[in-house]
């Protein structure tokens, strides 16, 4: 599971109103290279909850990777920044798309329900008594 996914996921257990952000507990991560696409990042950035992403990178073992506050777009999408090692956009790309949580747990902040991640696949399915009708 990439941290991009973590940023979008919430717990939808019965009785929980937000269920977001899910606390990330990481047992094993891997790095999978993905080609950087500036247009993709530009499109997806407004949908990203930066604080949840920042918390997730720390939980995944990369506390220094991102700034605690979202850098201004002018800095992120500065001409040629994508080619510069260690630039803000490269680090954002790495955080969103290349860190892959292989094993761990997602914990609902409201109910404490934990969703296991095994072989990179988060299991978000609810038990019968947690389903809203």
């Amino acid at each position: 599971m990439r941290l991009l996914t973590h940023n979008f996921l919430a717990s939808n257990v019965k009785g929980v109103s937000t269920g977001y952000p899910l606390a990330l507990e990481v047992a094993k991560t891997s790095i999978k290279e993905v080609e950087l696409n500036v247009d993709f990042l530009r499109g997806i950035l407004p949908k990203i909850d930066w604080r949840a992403l920042f918390a997730a990178t720390s939980a995944a073992g990369f506390p220094e990777l991102l700034a605690a506050e979202q850098p201004p777009e002018a800095e992120l999408f500065a001409e040629g920044a994508a080619a510069v090692e260690g630039s803000a956009i490269r680090r954002l790309h790495h955080a969103l798309l290349e860190i892959h949580v292989e094993e761990g747990t997602l914990v609902c902040p409201d109910s404490g329900r934990s969703f296991p991640i095994l072989k990179g696949v988060p299991n978000m399915l609810l038990h019968e008594d947690e389903v809203r009708h």
Binding site: M124, L125, L126, R132
Partner: protein, 476 residues
Amino acid sequence: MWYLCVFYHRLLDYRRPEVQSLAELFGGPGAGDAVEWRMPENHHEDSPFHLVRLPGDERLAAQIANRSLLVKGIFELWGQGATYDELEKAIREYPDERKLPYLTPESSFKIVVDSFGKVISFEEQNEIIKGFTYIPFEGRVNLKKPEHKFFVLETDDYGSQNGLPPVVQKTVFFGREVGAADRHLLPMYQLKSRKYIGPTAMDCEMAFLMANQGLTRPGKLVYDPFVGTGSILVAAAHFGAMTMGADIDIRVVRDGRGPDCNIWSNFEQYKLPEPLCVLRADNNLPPWRPGLKEIFDAIICDPPYGVRAGGRKSGGRKLLKGIIPPYTVPDEKRENHIPSTAPYSLAECVHDLLHLAARMLVVGGRLVFFYPMLREDDVAGVAKFPEHPCFKLVSSCEQILSLRYSRVLLTMVKVGPYTEEVERMGEERHQEFRENHQKWMEEGNLHTAVFSPAEHDKKPESDRGSKPKYRGKFAS
């Protein structure tokens, strides 16, 4: 500019929509609608020869043809006629300034003779090619890698043996090739050499067509909520899109058939970037954060409609029907508890899909999915497809699967933003649905209709009598 567009004689309904989608993809918004079609004289709609007017320059036409699966070639038409004499007259009349740039001494060329509905022997082909001495070719012949390819395309005054309604007149076309489909993709991606497939894995040609309908390209995010073994996302990833998938069956998405035979290995096999995520989740209760919307550029899927495989949703069959009272899973059993699921009717599934797409697609994003149809219902020619205030139908392409049912590839575009109003309407309709859907379309209905034994005493199609029938429909 008008071109001659020659299609492969297959998946007839899918051919024009594919070209239009690709025009939109490469030509920008509105280019798909700007495409115009005409049929050559005396040709039925299902003939492989179409005349198409494409916006933009020849480069766009080449891009469309090269990316497509069903375009055998897009040609600049230099002439056509019922006989070779008529053809010669037409080519001579075609303006020199259009012809001469492709006939220069420094260029290389070849002439290909092709036909539809007949076989032309090698000797005959040579004779035909020799007949074109009236065109002042000055370039060198190069059979392997010519700069310019010219095609002679012949259709005969065939009967109805080739599956088309009879055409009375023979036509010969002569044109310069602008672009053609690369069908080498198909043997490369064919399912029989793929490591991990399931019983309902999408045929690779169809998956590529779906990806084209979804305007898949690099930098776009494509989601498949019924991902299974990932066969649709493989096609999307081939065209450079980022992919995400979800499925309710954890054995498929997580375990596959072992460490080297699972959804991830399918991407590795073709050296494609693997999906950004594969989730185990229920389309009926999607686990997206509240307020999150408009993140996917396309949702492409083949929902389980209960003929080959039925859909499932969370929450116990008996529980949902009220046969057993609500219960709580005891704490000590929660960890390894396998939640029971209930059948997921087609109506509810499609309803959820439209609602999800309305929320999660960007405006202008496309929803591409298969919808089953009983062919008996299609008699009046009025097909009923699901609708949603956020979506406009772009195309519907039928693929006949049996005498009784077919599936229709629906392509919809999101035309309006997802607002609170839409959300409220969606919720209301959803409630109505939950109350009524069982009356509407009982689980397994489609399955019964498709597989129930035939009624032999019923007079077969008595009212449709003697009209000529073709592809199970009536030729006009």
